[in-house]
């Protein structure tokens, strides 16, 4: 039975109905009923941007065909329900890669556009939306509109990062990136202070396509963590493997919800110490296949169950570079809260602007981390973090959010009213109703 939850498994929401789309042509007779509708792909949005409590969900997962692939120029057009995993299986053997890749391959093309996802190469390539050439948008009035920077430009901008609210994306055409090998040359460097981290970012941003860091968020005192940087390898580097993606079977599937005490603070602190010290030398370099590099967690299916039945919040924010002091304050606040988890990602976004009207990524320092749901205590902490982010002139990522106040949202995204004009009148989501319901206090 396909489930229609969000990845963080909260808030709980029940769609009134689910319609599965198999063919683009079926949209001609799609009946939305009397409720609002929302497209649903692979459900990797952490919060409620993929939920439509009491409304209709349009499941696009089976609308997953390729339409055209120009393997000379790397231009690919495919139906919106195609997953990045399915896409990579086709393009990697022919020497192409995603221009921007998130941390999981289990998202759909349509979802990648709707959340305007970003990846480890934001400082070089910007967001996913920058590589979208055009797409087709089905609107509830029955029209289909091709959108590009030149055609239906307003809808193009609104749909990139538009959280599925502007209509249903039927297909997407993207420009892929050339690779000479499916493997990357990666370096991992240990750092023991925030200044060391910043120095690593500075020295790496020009020469490395991909940079990302893990930090120990549970430990007060100097920030320590691991900095990773990588480039796709030249042809023939590695073990002379062919260019096909290696079939990597999932290691395991989390078979049931772990009890919520499984990830207690002591266990996670220990875990963090092990990760930090696993690598013997301060620097290690190796050649690694793209799958373990980009998608380490994909090998554990349903890993969201480790946080137990109550689910978890993911919190991702960005603050401008000059607000580095505020960033350190936030880290300190998290470390003292004893609530964070071991899954933490730190990255410096570059200055390449997204075409998306509501896009989250912007130049600055971004941090993403999980918080197991401990009820009011967790909500209070996240509310406090929102305050820090606001004062620092930053913003929080809507596609990962399940709880920010309408006031915060409207502060972070003052363009939301302009965006609201582009929303399909029959489309809505639990997220959208939440962040627009109350008037800003």
């Amino acid at each position: 039975m396909p489930s229609y939850q969000s990845w963080g498994r909260l808030p709980k929401a029940t769609p009134a109905a689910v319609r599965r789309l198999d063919w683009r042509a079926e949209l001609a007779e799609l009946d939305l009923g009397t409720t609002t509708a929302l497209p649903y792909g692979l459900g990797r949005s952490y919060g409620d941007s993929c939920l439509n409590d009491g409304g209709l969900l349009i499941d696009t997962r089976r609308m997953s065909r390729l339409i055209r692939f120009d393997a000379e120029r790397g231009i690919l057009r495919a139906e919106a329900g195609l997953s990045l995993e399915q896409l990579l299986a086709v393009i990697v053997p022919r020497g192409w890669f995603l221009p921007v890749s998130p941390g999981t391959q289990f998202v759909t093309l349509g979802g990648a556009v709707a959340s305007d996802i970003h990846g480890k190469n934001h400082h070089r390539a910007g967001t996913f939306g920058r590589h979208v050439r055009r797409f087709e948008l089905w609107r509830s009035d029955g029209t289909r509109r091709e959108c590009s920077p030149d055609e239906n430009a307003e809808l193009f901008r609104a749909t990139i990062g538009g959280l599925g609210l502007t209509g249903l994306i039927t297909w997407v055409e993207i420009q892929l990136a050339r690779i000479a090998s499916p493997s990357l040359q990666m370096e991992r460097i240990r750092f023991r202070s925030f200044d060391e981290y910043l120095a690593l970012e500075r020295e790496s941003s020009d020469a490395y396509e991909y940079t990302v860091s893990w930090i120990d968020c549970l430990r007060a005192g100097p920030t320590r963590g691991l900095f990773q940087r990588a480039n796709f390898a030249e042809r023939g580097v590695g073990r002379g493997r062919d260019r096909a993606p290696r079939t990597r079977r999932p290691l395991l599937r989390v078979p049931f919800d772990l009890p919520s005490c499984a990830l207690n603070a002591a266990a996670m602190k220990l875990f963090n110490r092990v990760i930090f010290q696993l690598q013997r030398a301060d620097r290690s370099a190796r050649v690694v296949h793209y799958a373990p590099f980009f998608y380490p967690l994909d090998r554990v299916l349903e890993w969201n169950r480790i946080y137990g039945k109550r689910g978890f919040y993911q919190y991702q924010f960005v603050v401008p570079n000059q607000a580095e002091g505020a960033f350190r304050e936030i880290l300190d606040r998290i470390a003292h809260s004893d609530q964070g988890s071991f899954l933490v990602v730190l990255k410096k976004f570059g200055g390449i602007a997204s075409p998306g009207l509501m896009s989250f990524p912007r130049e600055g320092l971004t941090l993403a981390l999980d918080f197991p749901n401990r009820g009011a205590k967790t909500l209070e902490l996240l509310e406090a973090l929102d305050g820090f982010v606001r004062r620092a002139g930053g913003c929080v990522y809507p596609a990962k959010d399940a709880r920010m106040s309408a006031e915060s949202f409207q502060h972070f995204y003052p363009q939301w009213k302009e965006f609201a004009r582009c929303i399909d009148p029959r489309f809505s989501s639990s997220f959208w109703r939440r962040v627009t319901a109350e008037a800003g206090r």
Partner: protein, 245 residues
Amino acid sequence: MRRILITGASSAIAQEVARRFAAEGDAFFLVGRDPDKLTAVADDLRARGAREVATEAVDLIDLARCSRLIEEAAERLGGLDTLLVAQGTLPDQAACEAQPALALREFSLNAMGPITLLLKAAAHFEARGGGCLAVITSVAGVRGRRSNYVYGAAKAAVSTFLEGLRGRVAGAGVRVVDIRPGFVDTPMTAHLPKTPLFASAASVGARIHRAMIAGEAVVYTPWFWGPIALAIRLIPRSIFSKLSI
């Protein structure tokens, strides 16, 4: 390069099988009812690396039309070495019981059409000295179950036919593959409540692709349907006829 004829080519399982052959650069002749769907599938296969994809919109209830398809495919592709029969419907058992004409129509789609294609293809492959005949039958053909025996009988007819045909063409180097899936999550089963027994079309498609390349005789997919089919076969008739399955 294989030259493959697929009937029922826009079915979810057929698409999954075809994608895997397309990645190997094979050529296709796709047959199905709906020309728009065939075009969508053909585009997909081309983008995945298929050397050539031709389509033909045909209502496979027309047996005379079925019997011409093999030659047509061979002509369009410059030869033919692989047939995948993926056409099929899941009849409404109660409606079939009330209307014999409907029962026969369903039987024709699920059994007589495939048999027509198989006879033509077998002769063609025997003459060329090799090939692969694959048919998606069903675990439902193992025994006649009260809830679904029109479908079951049609699938059983094809399975029995394939068993005999296998013996006939083996000497000519022709492989006969009888694929018996259990419940698969496809549009055909969209109305059924989903139990943990349901498999994805992608996993079943991958298994069929492997079976066709290896020329396996009988394949249950997912694998656990093999032991289940055996167990069902062993239930004494006196008990079986009382079961509501």
